[in-house]
């Protein structure tokens, strides 16, 4: 499944400055592996050592937060819009 992925500013150094890239995968987990193959170093910025999404990273599929779907098992369809959006947080 080919999807469009919106990349946040702090990660665009890894995507040659592109704010939107293509990636493929049947699920978000697959797509993250594909993204890592295309843009090495990106996955560790999004996931911890155990492969879980980092706490302050939100991923949306067609504007739905994957934490309220099936997390990294969330299925993707051709043409889906995936957004990687850092949380806005502080102290």
């Amino acid at each position: 499944m080919a999807v469009k992925v919106r990349i946040p500013t702090p990660l665009r150094g890894l995507t040659n400055g592109q704010g939107e890239v293509e990636a493929a995968g049947r699920t978000i987990g697959d797509m993250l592996v594909d993204l890592e193959n295309r843009y090495p170093g990106i996955k560790e910025r999004l996931c911890d050592e155990a492969g879980n999404l980092r706490r302050f990273v939100n991923i949306y599929v067609n504007e739905e937060d994957i934490r309220f779907k099936q997390g990294s098992d969330t299925a993707l369809s051709d043409g889906d819009d995936v957004s990687i959006v850092p949380a806005i947080a502080g102290g």
Binding site: P8, T9, P10, L11, G13, L14, R45, L46, R54, F56, V57, N58, Y60, E63, D65, S83, V85, P86, A87, I88, A89, G90, G91
Partner: protein
């Protein structure tokens, strides 16, 4: 998520250009700070070029006196609206109840938006406020003046 080493202050800031926040927006921001006291409030300012034209009061899902986390669903909705109105994210504001208007360690650690000015509004028990404005890029703080009208 750590910051990429390539990000530089100069990539995001044109020297000499100051963000202009009109009086209706700065008043709304300070009202938000006072209304949510003693808890931290948070919100977004959007606009075009050096002018802010929209304020979005966001929900602090932490409901805390010392931290904030914007509701992710609300954040997504607001980002979508900003895109449809062709607005850019200009500033991220939050309050520091009874703490100085200076970025905390958590603020620095979680500053993922180099394109935005981070506005911090200190408020004390007498409801007096003080505003600080900064860029936080690669965990480095730079004071950035804003034109708060």
């Amino acid at each position: 998520m750590s910051r990429a080493a390539h990000l530089k202050y100069d990539d995001f800031v044109t020297s000499g250009v100051m963000l202009i926040i009109p009086s209706n927006i700065s008043s709304a921001m300070l009202e938000h700070v006072k209304a949510d006291f003693p808890f931290e409030c948070c919100g977004l300012l959007a606009g075009k070029g050096d002018a802010v034209s929209h304020i979005y009061r966001m929900s602090n899902t932490d409901k805390s006196k010392v931290t904030y986390l914007m509701d992710p669903a609300e954040q997504m909705r607001v980002f979508k609206e900003m895109r449809s109105l062709e607005l850019e994210l200009k500033a991220i504001y939050h309050s520091h109840p009874n703490h100085p208007a200076w970025p905390s360690r958590t603020d620095i650690e979680l500053a993922y938006y180099p394109e935005a000015v981070y506005i911090i509004i200190s408020i004390n028990d007498s409801r007096e406020t003080e505003v600080g404005s900064f860029r936080i890029i690669n965990k480095e703080i730079t004071v950035e003046d804003i034109d708060l009208q």
